[in-house]
Amino acid sequence: MGADLFSIGRSSLRTSKKSLSTTSHNIANANTDGYTRQIVVAESNTPIQEGKNVLGTGVNVKTVRRVHDRLIEKKLNHSLTNDSYHKERTNQLSNLEEIFNEINSDGMNKILNRFFNSFRELSTQPENEVVRTLVRDNASIVVNDFKRISADITAVKDRINAEIKGSVDAINDLSENIGKLNLEITRLENVGGEAGDLRDQREAAIRELSKFFEINTYEDGNSQFVVNIVGGGSLVAGNSINRLVATEFAGDEVGSYKNEGRVEIRFENNKASFLSSHIKAGRIGAALKTRNEELGFLRNQLDEIAHGLVHVTNAIHRRGYINKKIPTDQNGNIINDGRLGKITGINFFKEPLDLERASQMIDLSEEVKSDLNNISTGLEPNSPGDNRIAVAISKVQHEKILGGGSKTFEESYLQSIGKIGLAASKSKVNEEQAKGILAQAKSIKERLSGVSLDEEATNMVKYQQAYDASAKMIKTADEMFDSVLGMMR
């Protein structure tokens, strides 16, 4: 009997010690990100029968369980995807709207307006050289601002492309990591080992992946852990991984300059199709959407405005004559001996100008750059007081020229900013909401799987007392054994 007391006591000691060490592990990891608390599942040993009586034989540790719920984890991953999508959208759109923010500074709208008003000023004193300087200066500012916006848009585009490239590297690293962990977990669990902490690591990697795009995980029939990109294909299956590559395109490769330097994602082993057209969620989804929709839209709008401005201004300006004395015969016919160069038909802005890159390539014409008197105000030669060309150009400001005659330049420009502003403000609201949902999902997970120090403190006391009691039990058994031995003397 005594021997049984000893073994029961020993099993109790062992279980209490294991429980205490698990408690200690939990406390140690109380602040470890992604740690799932563990609890010892104890089980009473198989009882033995002695005659009519059934006698207990102590306790053993059945398993150390992770307190974890697959559905909660899935919800968290989804919230992460959603949150990083909106975060990235807001980030990119804020970058974009800053380019067009002229609340506290001068922007394209004001500059374009000043350009037209400088012609209006010129129309009051067409003879004046100083005002011509003003016109040319304002026109150069317009040119520079088109170029600035164009360059800023390109910079945002480059940043997005660089980010996609960088993401692909990070994703490949994570995939590799998951593949390795899969291998480890299977090996450990096949021999009955505890892989709780490795599973935590794998879940952390999955969470990181979820930030890039929406993913879906499951264990297949052969207990292989599979990671799929939703709508994209399999990224990891067991320990085999499907690497991604980012390919940069040259301008003409995708058919137009607008796509110059564009980065697309493909699977390394399937280069035929773009993965990027299937990714709609997560950070990559947001980056792609912003690049393909808003950036493309803005560039088109800007090019259209620049092109329209150049075209219309030139069409009017070409009708005018230079502000110089042009020799005529007695009947008033012009004698053009070529000494004055071109006397009419002069472009104000440089032509030809490709619509596709208008905002990037816009410039003043060589004639206007080299000589202020090449800025025409008069519709007739030798008429310094003739302001009709200047008036006509100033009137372009209020004409509905773009969009098939439905919008003025200003309206078109403001609509573009409005669209970006709306998208940015919508995205901010969404981000706020996604942040809330994510916080909630995290909190649900933490409530279930997180370590509570209060709880661990209670457990510590509980297991310590159990340990003390077991020790006492062994001591009692020992004394009992001693008493029996003493009888012999």
Partner: protein, 349 residues
Amino acid sequence: MARVSEGSTIHAINFSIGKTKEKLENLQLKGSNLKQVQKPSDNPIGNMEILSIRSKDIDGNQYLRNGSVAKAQLTYTENAIEDLTNLMVKAKELAISQSSNIFDTSVRTSIAREVGQLYNQALGIGNRRIGNKYIFAGHKSLTKPFTVNGEYLGDGNQTRIEVAKDTFVPVTFNGRDVFFDKTGSPVPERSPLDNSPFENLSNQFELQRPEPHFKENEPPQINRELASSEEPSLPDFARGSIFSDLKRFENALVTNNHEIIQDLLPSFDESIERLVEIRTVIGSTINKIDTATNAVEHNMLTNAEYKSKIEDADVAELFTDLTRQQNVLNATYKASAQMMNNNLMNYIK
């Protein structure tokens, strides 16, 4: 009972502090420049309106400047024409006094000299300038319009400028209209916007033509280019002018031809009448500019008010919010400190 873990507590604390601080930061930014709209996304539609109003503001200032330029030019021109009118009245008085055949040769000679003076004065008026600009030269504003013989070198054009959106007013009167008899040739005026190549750009694209510069109830003679083109066209030298009249008057005095002097009287009357009419036109144009300028100023004021409504923050509300948000933050800190510094471990000794 929901389980609370260290992690969920920390998340909750971070989330609530983060949110409160973000709100506070936004309010602080608004407080720093008292603007409600900091970037397009704060109020996308409002931002569009603000920018559009700012444009109208710049336009408005330009229109006001144009208006004052126009007024200055017109006033200057009016002074010149007033001087010319006085001169013609003087000429007419002399003509009346010398229209009978009773005369004194010495008086006539001295009057002839006086008329010669008047001629030179008229020439001076005809060649007046603002800065380097001849006011009576039409578009050829840098060419001296009248030769010593009264020959006109300018053209029949008139410069118009915009003093309010789509409101154009004439700012110059050419020598032909002012100094020559009315029976002149209509100078075909091409609008800068006629047959322009850009009309084909888009069917919709048609620039605003400057409106006819005078209404029906205003004297029509300045409107010659809009008159019937059937009228026979006469070259300048074949038409009577103030200069030719004065010259004839002077010659008639020298040659003692009182019939010619009598003949000239209606012509002087006509000239005076014409000058008075032009002055009326200038007067009404200045009125038109004043009206337009007032309208522009009024619009600018209304726009500024509207813009302020969209753009400017409500100071009282802003600072109330700011104080409230600060209190919220303090409360959050206090509550968080309570949560963070306490657990069972502290009580187990």
